[in-house]
């Protein structure tokens, strides 16, 4: 066929490229893009922009950064944040490595214990347990009182930065444990055997073969821990450690106001570190899909433990278990205790804290259910839509939509909070008569954006399990696209969507970083903020702990339910395949 002149082709294409006929799905895509750009991209870019702006003239400048680095407090905060994050990775590794090693290399009956170790910390937000940890490991806490009485010395577990490091690593080590165990489990036995066959064994084999193969999983987990700790606001705030970046940003904005540039400079640094860590771990892992397990082949060979080794293994596991459970135990004691100060245990036990909590916190709890519920609902709707657009359509820019939604993971809550304050403070909400920045809906929106990646992942996984053939069958029978989605795709995805909802809800319910910036009055505050307020005074701690238990209950129940849904759905599908 002869080439048609290029101009003819172009002329054919131009109008449709300029005025695309928008199908319903494309319309939805555009809508979601607007939401993501407006509520995620613009606030973050605005924060970065303001960091480079002269607060008085509005001109672009690097002066803010010069001011930042010439202040010894900020330099110290920067260094502290870095140090705390790095040390948390180290301590979390020290906790996770033996656990991962024991479960993957040995036949160990206590592996169940280790599995529960992997999720117990995750059901309690770190800031909730922080004060309880102080009462157990603090200078005058249970452990040090006992140590002082018996041996005459104390260990500064919770002094200053140590406290943040301890609380964070106990909370976040499961990220390393889960990733590291998974990649150890994915190493095929033949990898090890081939090395033995060539004369290698013991530590040399571990160093040259096993460890490098497990490295990508470890790095993924470690990078996550680093970012989470670097960005976290709640824990240092509750431990009253203010000389770190996130608390400084919060304090500057809340005490000086949103025109103070330091909060923005800090935000910029936080975002850069997030992106940098993700990018570095991505670079490191590129081309390193080391999952080598073969069909039918086992993971690394496991051997039985000798008696001495078994005792040692149980010792290590139980010690770590005790550490990991200590925030939970401390919180429970605090919630049921009368007065607990300068004593290994509370003076007496009571239910009064729960009564106080109930009388004063009804508002917090109902606010939480409202905000987290709305956020999670919006998350699964948007998540399902994005999953569908990415997996089932060829709409231009669909990948970008996915990336943008996922990018919320790299945006610290403090930064999003500051961005919203800045972006919405000048906008009046019609009929309500206050600035949008202090309207409760903004809290729900922030939660929605922050938890969208979780819901998106669940919805994508759910949709991947719905075979395209089923959809085509429906379309083949005359159903329109929209009907097919509503009648076939969504019902089949229900379990996955539900699991996504529960996860988003449970984690949104205990979010503090963004919330704390956006709460403008106690009446609008959710539970996490309530805990923060209670914990500010010694007399409020009991009720705060009681509220904390409610939070743990919500997250624990949420985790359990979503697990249940996923498991039942899996079973249901398996049965379906058998028949």
């Amino acid at each position: 066929m002869p080439d048609t002149p290029a101009t003819g082709n172009l002329a054919d294409k131009l109008p449709s490229a300029l005025f695309p006929r928008l199908s319903a799905t494309a319309l939805v895509a555009v809508l979601i893009a607007i939401i993501l750009i407006g509520l995620l991209l613009i606030p973050v870019l605005l924060v970065i922009y303001v960091a480079f702006q002269d607060p008085n003239t509005g001109a672009l400048t690097l002066n803010n950064f010069r001011d930042f680095f010439s202040s010894s407090l900020f330099r110290e905060s920067f260094w502290n944040s870095f140090y705390v994050s790095a040390m948390s990775v180290v301590i979390a590794t020290a906790i996770a490595l033996p656990l991962a090693y024991i479960t993957t290399r040995f036949n160990f009956a206590g592996s169940i214990l280790i599995q529960s170790l992997g999720f117990i910390p995750l059901i309690m937000p770190p800031f909730v347990g922080a004060v309880a940890m102080q009462l157990i490991f603090g200078r005058n806490g249970t452990v040090n009182l006992l140590l002082r009485d018996s041996f005459g010395f104390t260990i500064p577990f919770m002094d200053g930065l140590n406290g943040v490091i301890l609380v964070q690593s106990i909370h976040y080590f499961p990220f390393i444990l889960i990733n590291l165990s998974a990649s150890l489990r994915n190493i095929d036995r033949s990898m090890e055997e081939a090395a033995q066959n060539l004369g290698s064994h013991g530590m040399r084999l571990f160093r040259r073969i096993v460890f490098p193969l497990a490295m990508p999983g470890y790095i993924a987990g470690a990078a996550l821990v680093f970012i989470k700790v670097f960005d976290d606001l709640g824990t240092p705030l509750l431990l009253n450690v203010n000389n770190m970046l996130a608390p400084q940003a919060f304090l500057r904005i809340s005490s000086i106001g949103i025109s103070d540039p330091m909060g923005y400079v800090i935000s910029f640094i936080l975002v850069m570190f997030s992106i940098f860590s993700l990018w570095a771990s991505f670079l490191f892992m590129r081309g390193k899909d080391y999952a080598t397990v073969q069909k039918g082949g086992g993971g690394l060979s496991r051997r039985d433990l000798k008696l001495g080794e078994k005792i040692l293994a149980y010792g290590v596991v139980l010690l770590i278990l005790a550490f990991v459970l200590s925030p939970h135990i401390g919180l429970t004691l605090l919630a049921f205790g009368t007065i607990w100060s300068f004593a290994p245990l509370p003076d007496g036990y009571t239910l009064k804290n729960f009564v106080t909590m109930w009388q004063t916190s009804g508002q917090y709890i109902s606010n939480t259910i409202l905000y987290a519920g709305l956020a999670a609902l919006a998350d699964v709707i948007i998540g399902t839509a994005i999953a569908y657009i990415v997996l089932r359509t060829r709409i231009f820019g669909r990948k970008a939509l996915d990336y943008l939604a996922t990018a919320a993971l790299a945006v610290p809550g403090v930064v999003l909070g500051i961005g919203y304050l800045r972006l919405f403070h000048g906008i009046e909400v019609p009929f309500v008569g206050k600035p949008m920045a202090s309207w409760w809906v903004i809290i729900a929106l922030a939660l929605m954006i922050r938890r969208l990646p979780y819901a998106l992942r669940a919805c994508t996984a759910a949709l991947q399990q719905v075979s395209v053939a089923l959809e085509e069958a429906a379309e083949n029978l005359g159903a329109t696209k929209g009907r097919t989605i509503r009648r076939v795709v969504i019902p089949l995805m229900t379990a996955g969507i539900l699991a996504g909802f529960v996860t988003s809800f449970a984690t949104a319910a205990v979010e503090l970083s963004a919330t704390i910036m956006l709460v403008s009055s106690d009446a609008d505050a959710p539970l996490a903020y309530g805990i923060y307020l209670f914990m500010q005074t010694p007399s409020g701690r009991g009720a705060g702990a009681a509220l904390g238990l409610v939070a743990v209950l919500i997250v624990g129940l949420g985790t359990f339910i979503s697990q249940l849904i996923v498991e039942r759905d899996k079973k249901y599908r398996m049965n379906g395949q058998d028949q």
Partner: protein, 374 residues
């Protein structure tokens, strides 16, 4: 591959020595269990120095388990394994000096091709200056020196296979063990690779054990082979021996196509006959009288239209044209008997439904006395 360059290379320069160092393997009364399940039961086997030996058997018959026991992997077996006269049963894998190529190749994905191949030399504490040339020589041996700096995931299946081989032979093991080395390759490559493997084995003179479930692979490569079933060695011999004179029904059925008829051997003076349960009498060469089964290879049966004594009457029920042969399924003697007739231009075809007679080649029929195999 270019022979002259290889002969200069260190790894192969010792070729002469290697032939002198060729070792045999003796296995005596080997038992191996996973927990309560016995997977190898009383294996006795002698493999000669320099031999290309195959373990052939269906999936789950214990081939890999036996091979891995020789390399020192898996549960500790009872019995005796000697390599080059040395009892190795209590030696850990890294002290046995046997090279094993894994079914999955097991190239380490975090190391380049060169680093993979150099691994064993480094473990053996070879001087740095020697490692490079030896690695190059090993890569030359498999013809892939230009891929030295690739990562394993950038190689095709056949290339990975060759690198795995190079990685194993570079340390000059006493014995080479190959666990289904060709099973992950596509059909064409498989034929090519098995020839290369054999050529390499001949060049290095390495005592080699090759595990496969594919009889064609075993037949075309091995000097001798052992047929395994249910963790027991059924028969050991050259491929022809096993095909022509299977010692039991399993071997008969596993190697090639076999028609098996039940009946008894009867001697009538000089004449020996096999009488099937349906009463057909077939003249055979020599066998002990008694109950048993007769094994008839499809190509050793002639299809005729004229009957007569010593033939079996039947009816063609199915026909397949295989190119060089025509395969008939004939209903006769209460069974469906497979008969292959060679085909060339102008050969007559028997139609389906045709009444035919089967004449067997008496010398080729093998009788297996009752109680020898399923």
């Amino acid at each position: 591959m270019n022979d002259s360059t290889q002969l200069e290379a260190p790894a192969v320069a010792k070729n002469g020595d290697m032939k002198q160092r060729m070792v045999g393997i003796e296995i005596e009364n080997l038992h191996l269990s996973f927990g309560q399940t016995e997977v190898l039961s009383g294996v006795d086997l002698t493999i000669e120095p320099g031999e290309f030996f195959a373990f052939l058997g269906p999936s789950g018959s214990g081939k890999s388990t036996l091979l891995r026991a020789i390399a020192g992997f898996g549960p500790r077996p009872r019995g005796m394994i000697r390599i080059g006269g040395r009892d190795v049963i209590d030696l850990p894998p890294w002290k046995r000096n046997v090279g094993m190529v894994f079914q999955s190749y097991a190239l380490w994905p975090h190391l380049s091709v060169r680093e993979n191949v150099a691994f064993g030399l480094r473990e053996l504490r070879f001087p740095r200056a020697e490692i490079g040339p030896r690695v190059d020589a090993a890569l030359d041996l498999v013809g892939l020196r230009d891929l030295a700096d690739r990562m394993p995931n950038q190689l095709s299946g056949g290339q990975q296979q060759r690198i795995a081989l190079a990685r194993t032979v570079v340390v000059e093991p006493q014995v080479l063990l190959l666990d289904e080395p060709l099973s992950n390759l596509d059909a064409n490559l498989r034929v090519q690779m098995r020839r290369e493997l054999l050529a390499l084995q001949r060049k290095l003179g390495l005592t080699t054990i090759f595990v496969t479930h594919d009889q064609e692979e075993a037949n075309t490569t091995s000097d001798r082979m052992a047929v395994l079933d249910g963790g027991v060695i059924q028969q050991v011999g050259t491929p022809q021996q096993l095909y022509d004179a299977p010692c039991n029904l399993f071997v008969a059925g596993f190697l090639g196509t076999a028609n098996i008829l039940e009946g008894r051997v009867e001697r009538d003076g000089e004449a020996v006959r096999f009488v099937t349960t349906t009463g057909e009498a077939l003249p055979i060469a020599e066998a002990e009288p008694g109950r048993g089964s007769i094994v008839l290879r499809p190509q050793n049966i002639t299809l005729t239209t004229d009957g007569g004594p010593g033939t079996i009457a039947g009816e063609v029920v199915h026909r397949e044209f295989l190119g060089s042969q025509i395969r008939y399924i004939v209903q006769a003697a209460g069974a469906e008997i497979i008969v292959d007739q060679s085909h060339s231009v102008g050969t007559d075809w028997q139609e389906i439904g045709a009444k035919v007679s089967l004449r067997i080649n008496a010398r080729t029929a093998v009788v297996i006395p009752r109680g020898h195999g399923a």
